[in-house]
Every structure is written in structure tokens, then in C-alpha cells.
Symmetry: D2
Subunit: 240 residues, 4 copies
């Protein structure tokens, strides 16, 4: 089934233009690297970016998207509220959503969480070790006990999110912090996974384990053909 | 400690003016009946309503509020976004919030939940029986196995909310529906309790068990003097 | 993938011998009917019963079992503690477990839950309506809003279980009760699903929706190739 | 209310006899130090130890216990199964239970959790930093962002427990590990808190923050006068 899943990778795509450092790491953009990783797992992957019309997310693209991946950082406030609303409705309707790294401050993630989604951070070449806390969870498939990322930006608690329904990873940073770095949620009929790693100036999205987590998360977050969600004024049901 | 807790009961206070039926049940307004019930438990209680300046919720009132209770229905969209934002920030900062009945569609509840908060309903004189699912929870203190409400509006699943952190009550309706009718959440440092009963045309808020649940919920939702939530750029910590 | 999953359906298989009523409903045993339903979904299914050597669950059978389904009622105490221990270890190691109906009182379920697993009950031809509470969950795939079972034994709250990690179904009974009737848990690397319906004297396991739930639950509970769970005395890790 | 809560501190009390090192740290036993800390918060505290008749936990003592605190390590298997059963029933009936440090392997904790409760460990003078993850939780009352323990035994993931209902603390260790070190559960009507720190050879239980956590946990885990839990064969209820 996985080869039929349709993934759209959304990237703000600004750092790559503004920063030679970032461009050196992701010459085709973060979205391209993520997309390549997912294609190697057999998914149908397309990309979309902020500066495209409707941010690359018109209704027909979302109609053809099972799981949306979101990377943004410096231009969260340039994402149009109408597009945020559109994505929000899709998630509640069943589309999966994977929010990466600095996407914690995206409008869509804050809207879905209901909190500030704020956190501590440090750009300082920390070593990050993600411990798998939920070894039987589908997102941990194929992993070892830890994911080692030699150079990353630190994110630390307190992370202002609702308690995850399932906590898959906890990160350890050598500077002294911990972080809930793999967080599963359900909102409406949709599944959401927040995954911490991926600062724009480090080659994190080339890391095989990081690619594997995203591929696993796509499968986990894929829509389910569950019951229609029916609301409003209703007559009593027949009782057998 | 309970007698020191400061509660503000907010009511839209429109049905009582528009409908002789509702006025006959709650001649001083729903807020007055709820407030009287809470005072009998020793809390310091004030009330606030939609048509007061700043909806009765200026900053100094919220400064003096440990737990806010919210009843609204027909005028949700008349609640000013700036006041919603103010209440949102207070909840994240630790103020308790108890959302009653049709308050499921209030701006503040939808913002905190991140979902539509939609549901099924029927005005038809259903019998509601709330089963206590979490008998060891503080909100169940002093209750029997069920709360019986002879005449109530029906609310039925699917209720579009995040899965509660603790589900205290499930309602049974004789028309054939069930409903998650007592739902606990944490958002930021604040605790939120959604409690289903309380249609404006029934004397539900005079029911001793309903009053007891609200009194228990106030104590449960009271702020805790926990750590400040510190965010932003941070240097590494000393490591002992 | 589903056609490769290996399921073992365990049945106490006593009622079918002792009661003409039950035998009339399940002439080949409850396990055979459940197995037939699962085979129609493409799984590799075998059965095992209490009176077989090692209750039909020797190590090599469990080695070849991805998901174990458990139906028991009148002979829970005749299940050998060594077999319970064996199944317990397998579940913690990743084998899925689906516990049906009166299996709530089985040794294995009580051991995994840590509670009495007691409940209310009534053999009285109740109408049961299971409401889907988690419409985006894989176990709800292909279902409508409710599952209607015209004649069933009633189980009512309080059900003495840990709060489910995900609550998929809540049952409504026309006699006035509710029940958490589809409950997901993780223990160790294993997933557990408790599913309420299935009294021995009613044809519940021929019901297409009930079969579908069991088939969905098998896929949900299937083992994941996650990290080995490593315990004991450990040296410090290299830090990058 | 807190001054009326009755706490029993149970200690295995063997290390203190066998090891001059431990005796130097806890000359009157770990239980005495814990008890002194709790008395400073106004609780009524008594102690009980393994070598007393019925391990110091006869029925009348448990009758007079609101919250039981458990420290054990080298003699878990000498705790009589009948006493474990007795404590188990009390917890399900509403008595609070706080399990400390190496108590993770006690019979009572394993019975309540349903898992092995195994973990990684290292006696190596690690620095432990407990981060408060749930700043609005009553157990975090009065704490700062972290609790710093300069010398402690390391416990590391994977910790084989059910996912906590609320995760209050995550520990960071300078050797590279993380640990879910403050875990809340409900079983039956009882509340359970597992708290990691407290190796016998370090003065952890003299730490003011550690004492505060135990005092807060006592209040959180105190019994609630909720509904009786009624099980068994039941007639249909009147329907209003």
C-alpha cells in the first residue's frame, strides 16, 4: 500500500535563497532532499513552496495529498490565513500532517495545538541523541535504540504543546537539555506527527534514520476510510 | 484552601432576556444560579456577562480570577477577539477554565482545542444519565455512580474534540446516543474542564450533583505555583 | 502486507460442548467462526483451544503468531500459569493481542492491565449500539458511525481497567448503560485491543462489522520491527 | 487538609544494615529521612519495614493510610505475596501509592503496571537534571524549571512501563541518557506516582526539591470520596 500514498512536501524555501551556508547543504531546497528520501520508500511525492500561487497548495493538490509535510521558519507570518484554514479543514477531514523542526511555530501547528508551541533553543552545534521511548510504535520501525545527530540546533523544554497522545522520541542534548522530539496527535480524523530534527544549516535530512522516521510517519499518518463525521440536529435512532 | 479560590462565572445572558421560558427557569440569569451554587462551597464568586464593558473581563478581573466558568450559546461570534486572546493567554498561564454545555462552540474553547468542537444535538426532552468513568478523580468526589437528569437536550457523538487527557463522565441518552460529557485537558499551565449538561430551558444548574461537579472542577482546575515557563535562546547549563 | 500476517485464534471451547444453545450458534466453535471471518481478509489463521496440549500454544506456535486472539469465559482458572507467563512475555516482546468479550476476566488480560477488570453485566437481550469515537483510527476503517447488534449481553461501567490509550468505541445499551467497548493499549513492544461484543449465545461473530473490527485490529496490533529493548548495567555513551 | 493526610513510608531497610556507606548517609534508615521530610509538610507519617510482622503493613495500618510510599531494592522477592495482594487491593480501592527509585522492580509496582518495569542503570556518579515537563501539575507546585542532583545513579530508557497518564519529569544524565522520571497513573480508584531519584548511597532524600515532590505527590495521590465501584449482575435502570 505504501507505494500508493501521495505525499506533498511543503517548504518555505527562503533560507536556501538567502544563505550560502544553507544553499551549500540543500542546493535544491530542503523540500527536494526530503522528497528524495521519501521517494526511496516508494511514495508518490510532490513539493510545494511559499512563493508559488496559493503557496503551492490549491484545493486540487490537497485533494491529491494523503500526507502533508511542513517545513517553515522565517516566514511563518507570510502564510495566508485562508491557506491555513484550508489545510486545517483537510487535517480534520483525515489528511495526515508531519510538522518538522521550526515548523513548531507555523500557523497551522499552533492552530491545531491551541498553545503557543514555544520552546528553548540554541544554535551551538549540540550533539542530539533521540531515544526511542515507544519501541513498538510504527514510527520506530527499523530503528535502533537511538538516532545520533552529531551537529544540530538545540531545542529544550519547556515545549508548550498539549501532552502528546504518544511520545515516540525524547532528545538528549549534550548542553544539558531534553526535548519531546517525536509527538503524535489526532485532531478530527487526521493524524499529526511533530518531529524535531532539521535545522537548515545541518545535513540532517540526509540522515538515513531521519529519512526512515519521516517515511514511517507518512504511513502512520495516512488517512483511514473511517465513518463520516456527522454533526447537527438528529432524530432519535431506532432501537433494534 | 477552597474558600480562598476566586471564581468568575461568565454568561452570555441573552436567552434570559429573549425567552420567557428561560427567564422562568433562571430569572436572575444562568450565571447567578451557577454562582449561588459555587458560593455554597465557600468560593469567592463574581459574575461577568457579554454586554458589560470588555464583556466583564478586563485585565484586573482576570488578575483576580483563579478559575473562569463559561456559558454561551447564541452570541459566540459577538465575543471580541481581543478578549478571547486575553483569556487564552491567561489559561496558558495557569488560570483554570470550565466550559459548560453550548460553550463547546465558544471561540475560546475552539481555540484551545484546535478542532471544530461540533457534535450532534436534539431538543427533545431526553433523559440523560452521566456515568462516572473515573471514580478516583477529584471531580467525582462525593458523587454516586451516575448523575440523573430527567430532562435535557441531547448531545451525541461524534464530538470533534481532541481525546481528553482524562474522561470523567460518559452520558447515556434514552434516544440512543452516548457523549463524552466530562473532559479534562491541560493547555500550557492551565487546566480545562468541559462539562456537558446545562441547556438554558431546563433547571439543570439547580441540580445538587451538577453543582457539586462544578465545585469539584473549580478545585481541580485551580492554578498551581509551578515553575515559570521560560522560552527562547539559552546558553548551556552548568553540569554539576 | 495483511495477507502475510499470521493470526492464532484461541478459544476456551467449553460452552460449545456443554450447551446446545451455544452449539446451535457456533457448531464448529467460536474460534472457527472468528477464524473464517479473518481468513476472508487474507490473513493466515490457525486456531488453538484450552484442552489441547499446552492449550494449543507451544512456543513454536507463538513463534509463528503475529497476533493472538483470545476468547474465554467459564474456565479462566484452568489456564496454566506457565502458559499465561509465556503469552505475557510474547506480548511484551511485540506480539499483538486481541481480547474479546468475557476474556476481560482472563488471566492474561488481568496481568497486562494490573486491575481487576471487573464490570457490570446482564444477560437480557439488550440492544447494543457501538459508537465510533475515534473515526480516524485504523480500527474504524470501513465502518459507519455505529455498529448495531440487536441482541447482546450487556456490559456496563464501571469497567475496572486503566484508561485506554485510545478509546475507539463506546457502547450504548437500551437498558441504560454505557461501556468503553473498544480499548487500545501498549505494553512493552506489544499492542493490545479489548473488544467487548461476543456473548456465546448470540451470533455476534458472524456480524460483518464485528468481523471487520477484528480484521482491522489484527493489522493495527501487528508487530513492528522496532529497536531491541536493552536493559541492565550500561557504560556511558560516546557523545559525538 | 494536608495536615490530616496519613502517610505510611515503607522501606526494605536492608542496605542500611549491610553497608557502612549507606548507614553513613541514612543512619536511621531511608524511611526516617523521607518521613521527616513529609512531617515538615504537616502530614501524619508513620513508617513500616520489611522485617516487621506482616512487613509492618497489617490491615489496620493500611486502614489508616491515605498514601503509601515504597522504597525497596535488594529484597523485593522477600515481600510476601499475600501482602502484595493486600496492598494491590487497597490501591485499587483508592489508597495512593508513591514508588521510589529501585522500587520500580517491586512486586507491587510490576503487578500494577503489567510490564517488566526493567530499565538501564549505571552506578557512576552521574549528574541528574530533572526537567519539569508539566508545569501546571500539582506535583510541580513550588518547583523551578529543573531539579539538580549532583550525584546519582543513572536510570536510562528504555523503561518498560505503560505510557504514563501524565509525565511530570524527564531526567537528563550527563552520561548521555534520558529517563521518564516522574510518572502518574490511575489504577482502579487509586493514584500511583513513580519518582526516580533516590539511590541508597547518595543523600537524595535530604534534597529540598525531592522532599517537595514527595509532599506534593502525597496530596495529589490522596483518596477521593468518589462513587463506590459496583460490579456484577444488574437489572436495567429506571429511565426517568
Amino acid at each position: 500500500m505504501s507505494d500508493e500514498l501521495r505525499v506533498t512536501v511543503w517548504n518555505e524555501y527562503r533560507h536556501e535563497h538567502n544563505s550560502p551556508t544553507v544553499r551549500a547543504v540543500y542546493p535544491e531546497g530542503i523540500h527536494s532532499t526530503i522528497a528524495d528520501g521519501l521517494r526511496s520508500y516508494g511514495y508518490q511525492v510532490r513539493t510545494a513552496t511559499l512563493d508559488q500561487p496559493e503557496h503551492g497548495l490549491p484545493a486540487d493538490i490537497l485533494d491529491a495529498t494523503d500526507v502533508l509535510i511542513w517545513w517553515g521558519h522565517m516566514a511563518h507570518d507570510q502564510v495566508d490565513d485562508a491557506i491555513v484554514e484550508r489545510v486545517h479543514q483537510r487535517v480534520l477531514g483525515g489528511m495526515g500532517l508531519i510538522v518538522l523542526h521550526s515548523g513548531h511555530f507555523s500557523k497551522i501547528f499552533k492552530r491545531l495545538m491551541g498553545t503557543t508551541c514555544d520552546l528553548k533553543w540554541r544554535e551551538g552545534n549540540d550533539h542530539e541523541r533521540l531515544w526511542v521511548i515507544a519501541p513498538g510504535h510504527p514510527i520506530a520501525d527499523g530503528l535502533g535504540e537511538t538516532i545520533e545527530i552529531e551537529h544540530e540546533e538545540m531545542y529544550g523544554e519547556h515545549f508548550d504543546i498539549p501532552a502528546p497522545e504518544t511520545l515516540v522520541f525524547i532528545s538528549w542534548f549534550n548542553g544539558g537539555e531534553v526535548f519531546r522530539s517525536g509527538c503524535c496527535y489526532t485532531r478530527g480524523a487526521g493524524k499529526i506527527f511533530y518531529f524535531r530534527p532539521g535545522h537548515e544549516s545541518y545535513p540532517t535530512y540526509y540522515h538515513p534514520d531521519v529519512q526512515r522516521v519521516m517515511a514511517n510517519a507518512v504511513r502512520w499518518a495516512a488517512p483511514v476510510a473511517g465513518p463520516s463525521r456527522i454533526f447537527g440536529n438528529r432524530q432519535p435512532l431506532e432501537q433494534g
